[in-house]
Amino acid sequence: MCLSIPVKIVSIDGDIAEVSAGGTLFKAGMQMIDNANVGDYVLLHAGFAIQKISEEDAAETYKILREMNDIG
């Protein structure tokens, strides 16, 4: 239930976007997201996008993790 999956916005029509999770398309309510753009990643939960996923922070966390562990 608390499952939320990262999805990519494919198209936006007002408050509703079409989003893709590994090729499967869903409809998502965008009422909680400011300035959403096609191509953005958002977290989908119970039919609504609940937050944008920060690509920069995702890359940064991963970089720190790798550096911290001295690999790659």
Binding site: L43, I50, I53, R66
Partner: protein, 362 residues
Amino acid sequence: MKYIDEYRDKELIMKLADRIASAVKRDYTFMEVCGGHTAAIHRFGIPSLLPENIRLISGPGCPVCVTDTGFIDKAIAYSQKEDVIITTFGDLIRVPGSASSLEKQKAAGADVRIIFSGLEALEIAKTNPRKKIIFLGIGFETTAPGTAVTIKQAEKENINNFFVLSAHKIMPPAMEEIVKGGTNLDGFICPGHVAAITGSSIFNFLPEKYNLGCVVTGFEPTDLLQSVLLLTEQANRNEPKVEIQYNRVVTVNGNIKAQRHLNDVFETCDAYWRGFGIIQSSGLTPGKNFERFNAEINMPVEAGKHDENEMCICGEILRGLKEPGECPLFADICTPENPVGACMVSGEGSCNTWYKYRRQDE
């Protein structure tokens, strides 16, 4: 997909496990509050990567599990009315009430429909104008804003046959109950998707008031391991604080727009949690301006006195006091096909997760 594969990197997972092993100095118990974390921890075999003196225990963060029998009984009472269509998220229909379940009612002819989003319930209301549509609102801060948006949409479109039976809840009061109840903890693995909405600051009271570390955590193996490491280090230094590990999604202040929807529509109320009883100001109910969408006010039902199965220890499991293996019914009488308690129904429930991944250990 991007953002997933990288967080499942084997080499990184093993390095993190090594670092945790060299960081431990004593015994530690950390509680993962979110049911999504419980499921991920066992799916990825995290306990097998941790030294023996780190124990992870599950908390009250599976919304289906903490929803009490009284709520199920009420939903069943509604489903028995001729003019009602029940709309609900999937897991809930299998949770046993005192005498039946929504699934059994459906088999007996009640109109119970599984939906993925509140907006779908609204569509059903529009296409069935002569029926009353009741949406079973369960879930925490992650899910409740969606219900708020749905209610606002119903108001905007002036839909008069849509009602919400709300068992929405908020997380911090239950975490405080756990601490006050004396469960021995060294820190919390805090729910990442609750915090995506609320921001990490809602957990500040835990280090401030109770000297407990908090790490807001993502759902991939490296997320979980990194958080265990951070919590262990916090405990070693005795410097508890709120850290955000899941910073690709979570900020200190959260999603302000979602919070606004939530606050526009809902008010807090006392709420009943399975295993805890009433927790003050821990539930969400539609406020004054949206009362016409509140099922309980507009079409009250009597559900009678509810019965729990006395052998089921879901309550103690949800408070972190016992583990599923300690239940005499576990995997024997109580299975996912034939659940006795709510914790065996939901894919995020401890008993269900243990059944899937840890039965052989018992």
